[in-house]
């Protein structure tokens, strides 16, 4: 993981506007990918005397500004500082569209044998091109010329140099037989054409080396004018493609056969959650990563961040006691089953930085009501080992897609589109209602009430619950009328659960169960697993489109017809 430093000048006039998060994310993406490619860039940002923002990328080795972005009179501009080529758009997306219009070969794949570049990578290619164009050998040419030369066929380029694929994978979508960049999957070698004098038979060049080679050793000025930009930009574009191949393959998979991408699916889908892949390490398994105790209002919040998925458990303390270990907040009347899951999860929260939480949930075994305590820990307790229980929230879409690659031959014309689901919920006062062990609601008011699965009543959904005053989880992805239901699978064998049109959340503690009506892309599974289970050991998609999760304990969780529902189809198409 690379670290990019972004400088912002503080000695600036008041801002009339500033970059929004999307724009900053784009800049971070550029910087991060460039850094991964070995093209070290710094950045500087500031505002003009009129308060309009600008953002510049600077070559770290020469201190030369290579690209300048600004918002001037509500117009987003991008400038190659070396060539002074200026691109304009209403926003960053529009600007990318302008780039695509000026360079139609950068459009998504159309099986025309061209090298293609996904729109999300256009800005990267722009800066990468500017970086390379800043080299002495190619700086006389415009970005337009460089891009056109790099992205179009050049019949004068003849020879081939082999390049070893190192640790990344270039999807087939970019490399077609008729283009001047070709890939042979079988021997993991890609070939691309370079001019005669660049030929180094028997030499394996990394892309990075090629870029260096192209820009630093190219000395024939006349030939350089003809080929220099092409080579340099091919290198730059390949850099961007290579490093971001997983991300770009995801988008291109929307219009390409699934089989071509089965190897990339797993990582791609996780990356889609994050605006700047590469800046974040992603895992399919998450744990609670923060705990906040508000001593004034006796509010305890568990916050789980799974991409944008947040859960809060809030309880009002009935009594406060103090002992040698710290303050305790009693929460009487808590029911069993799911409370146990909460207990487990609370006691196994590990911050993403590996730091243990500063409080634990205890059960007072001496009381008949199984009174639960949140207890703040002293330093010794914080450093004590955790109990052997873990909690995981696994994105089922990822899981299914991972399984699909095993049966991709049966889905010849199916391509993938990741259907992002954002759920934000709060679980409050879970001990306060007679038959309810957990109550949660979305910020837009739908309320989830989860009962013990043994109850004859199905799980209830309440709407229009008062919103937490401290809730800041408004989610544009959820409709106010969204219906959410939770189902507890608590270890009782052979449970059979029928889901409906709600957003269904399966809370899986263990045991075998058969679930009907699970809709991929909409419904969720949370795993509350003991240490001996940890995770499923095997999973597969059957001929009947069922997803089978097999655990080491012998438990089997079956999601019947998971690929057959409309939502599942839309998630996969």
């Amino acid at each position: 993981m690379s670290v990019a430093l972004f400088h912002k000048n503080t000695d600036q006039p008041p801002k009339k506007s500033w970059w929004n998060n999307q724009e900053l994310a784009e800049f971070y993406r550029v910087s991060d990918i460039m850094a991964h490619a070995g093209l070290k860039v710094e950045s500087e940002s500031g505002v003009s005397d009129e308060g309009e923002p600008w953002f510049a990328f600077v070559r770290a080795d020469t201190e030369e500004v290579i690209a300048h972005f600004a918002k001037i009179d509500d117009v987003f501009i991008a400038v190659s500082s070396v060539t002074q080529d200026i691109y304009r758009g209403s926003d960053v997306r529009d600007l990318i569209n302008q780039l695509l219009k000026r360079h139609p070969l950068m459009t998504p794949p159309s099986n025309n044998g061209r090298v293609v570049l996904h729109p999300r990578m256009v800005l990267v290619a722009f800066v990468a091109a500017a970086f390379v164009a800043a080299s002495e050998e190619v700086r006389a040419n415009t970005i337009d010329e460089v891009l056109s030369a790099a992205l179009s066929e050049n019949t004068n380029i003849k020879n081939i140099v082999s390049k070893e694929i190192t640790d990344t994978y270039i999807p087939d979508s970019y490399l077609y037989e008729n283009s001047n960049i070709q890939k042979t999957v079988s021997n993991e070698t890609i070939n691309f054409n370079i001019p005669d004098h660049m030929e180094e038979k028997g030499t394996n060049l990394t892309t990075k080396n090629l870029a260096t080679h192209a820009s630093n050793t190219y000395s024939d000025i006349e030939i350089g004018k003809q080929y220099g930009n092409s080579i340099a930009l091919i290198s730059a574009v390949i850099l961007a493609l290579e490093i971001s191949s997983r991300e770009t393959a995801l988008a291109n998979s929307q219009s390409a056969p699934l089989g071509d991408y089965s190897q990339e699916l797993q990582g791609l889908l996780i990356n889609e959650y994050f605006p700047v892949p590469g800046l974040l390490e992603t895992e399919s398994t998450q744990v609670f990563n923060s705990l906040d105790i508000n001593s004034d209002s006796s509010i305890v919040n568990f916050v789980q961040s799974v991409d944008s998925f947040t859960v809060k458990i809030t309880s009002s303390a009935k009594e406060n006691t103090t002992n040698g270990s710290g303050s305790s907040h009693e929460m009487p009347g808590v029911k069993s089953s799911l409370d146990l899951a909460l207990y487990n999860s609370a006691n196994n929260m590990i911050g993403s930085d590996g730091i243990l939480p500063k409080a634990k949930l205890f059960i007072d075994d001496n009381t008949e009501t199984n009174t639960y305590f949140f207890q703040e820990l002293n330093l010794d307790q914080i450093n004590a080992p955790l109990q052997n229980i873990s909690i995981a929230a696994i994105n089922v879409v990822d899981l299914v897609n991972e399984a699909i690659k095993n049966v991709s031959s049966n889905l010849n014309e199916t391509s993938l589109k990741f259907n992002k689901i954002i759920m934000r919920g709060n679980i409050e006062s879970y001990f306060s209602e007679e038959n309810t062990t957990v109550k949660s609601w979305l910020s837009l008011n739908p309320t989830l009430a989860v009962q013990d699965q043994g109850s004859a009543e199905p799980l209830r959904v309440k709407e229009n619950e008062p919103e937490l005053s401290n809730s800041n989880n408004s989610s544009p992805d959820l409709l106010p009328t969204l219906d959410i239901k939770g189902y507890l699978i608590d270890g009782t064998n052979n449970q059979e659960i029928f889901l409906n049109d709600s957003i269904d959340v399966l809370l899986y503690e263990g045991g075998s169960a058969v679930v009907t009506g699970f809709e991929l892309g909409k419904d969720r599974i949370w795993f509350f697993l003991s240490d001996d289970k940890k995770s499923y050991e095997n999973y597969r998609i059957t001929e009947n489109n069922d997803l089978i999760l097999e655990f080491g304990s012998g438990d089997i969780l079956t999601l019947l017809g998971v690929l057959e529902s409309d939502n599942s189809s839309s998630a996969l198409l």
Binding site: N9, E44, G46, V47, D49, E50, A70, S81
Partner: protein
């Protein structure tokens, strides 16, 4: 203020420091001329006036081929202006060309 005594100027920190001082100097000239960044950009024929802001914070440099028009836009003598800019942007050659010259660099 101190005299210019450094012998190694290709260090990134030195470059940054000199660029920043150049930017401050250019800003002072612009403000002395009572020009906004947009007005100066118009005079030096730069399409995006935020470039002026970028230069004034010490990122990038006045293009060599544009030094004359910048001097005129700021009402400065071209040779004096170019010489001063050279001391910031190309201090090594500046020292060779003007061995007895001292430039004003803040510590």
């Amino acid at each position: 203020m101190s005299s210019f005594t450094q012998t190694k100027h290709d260090d990134s920190n030195d470059i940054k420091k000199l660029r920043k001082e150049a930017g401050m100097w250019l800003r002072s000239l612009r403000e002395k001329s009572q020009l906004s960044q947009r007005q100066l950009a118009d005079r030096v024929d730069v399409e995006y006036y935020t470039f002026i802001s970028q230069i004034e914070v010490g990122r990038g440099r006045v293009p060599t081929e544009r030094v004359e028009i910048w001097a005129e836009a700021l009402g400065e003598d071209v040779q004096t202006f170019a010489k001063r800019l050279m001391s910031y942007y190309d201090p090594t050659n500046y020292r060779l060309v003007f061995p007895d010259a001292h430039i004003h660099l803040s510590d």
